[in-house]
């Protein structure tokens, strides 16, 4: 007889069972960063996502915190692009500067327009394929 058993979503159970909390925390953090890249097409959505990531960042080790920082910078850059398209130059400049400050803190050696634009290319390409 066929039976159906509901299963919990996959939340790195194998790692949890081994009490490897740091690895599981890193996996959950990185997974959250991925999920935050989905469905953000308006400046307000992007700002919410960046705020959420900012809260998530608190108390994290330097390495995963840096990954979150880069995602926040990417969100700010995307906000800047959208604000510029809408003619809100002041808001656009403010968000671009916030993104530049973050990537400088991550050791970036060039913050030219071309380099910064490439930060969002990957996500825009990914969204375009969906």
């Amino acid at each position: 007889m066929a039976t159906y058993r509901s299963r919990k979503p996959m939340t790195f159970e194998v790692v949890r069972k081994q009490h490897n909390e740091q690895l599981r925390d890193d996996l959950l953090t990185l997974q959250t960063v991925t999920f935050s890249q989905v469905k953000k097409d308006a400046p307000s959505d992007l700002q919410k996502a960046a705020d959420y990531l900012g809260k998530l960042r608190q108390g994290k080790r330097a390495e995963p915190a840096a990954v979150i920082d880069l995602q926040i910078a990417t969100d700010y850059l995307e906000i800047a692009r959208l604000e510029r398209e809408a003619g809100n130059i002041t808001m656009a400049d403010r968000h671009r500067q916030a993104a530049v400050d973050i990537v400088r803190s991550l050791g970036w050696q060039s913050v030219s327009d071309e380099t910064m634009a490439k930060l969002t290319h990957g996500q825009l390409w990914w969204k375009a394929t969906k």
Partner: protein
Amino acid sequence: MTGAMKVTFLVAAILGLGCGGYGGHRTAVEVSDSLKSIQYLAPTNVASDFARTQFMRADTNHARQAVMLQIRLLEQLELADKSFHARELSWAYTRLAMVEEAAGQTEAERRALDQARARDKRDRFRSKDLTDDELRNAVKVLDRAFDNL
């Protein structure tokens, strides 16, 4: 039907069932492993993208930190869950070697290249080892493609 034929048919049936069962079981295990390891796809991709971006854009210390994050994550995952296979580790070790080369750390560069070669040979079933330049070039081609998306 003679006794010899009966025995032949019986042996053939047992062999067929055994081989089929073994093959089916192996396939099921492989599919199950793939399904289980899908959960690691999102976090390992983020770590990989971060390492690649920092490797291309950041100074030596930050690039090393990012590449080490990816390497530790992949190594720990392989140890924790046998269903996971870190096929990107050879590229990660190669990037680490290139970071160490830029930092003038010759010994660390050599160690990382040896690890990259060993992983590449294991993961891609090569009959011969890749040279240092082949490893570096493979990473450069990958990064160039990513950069031109």
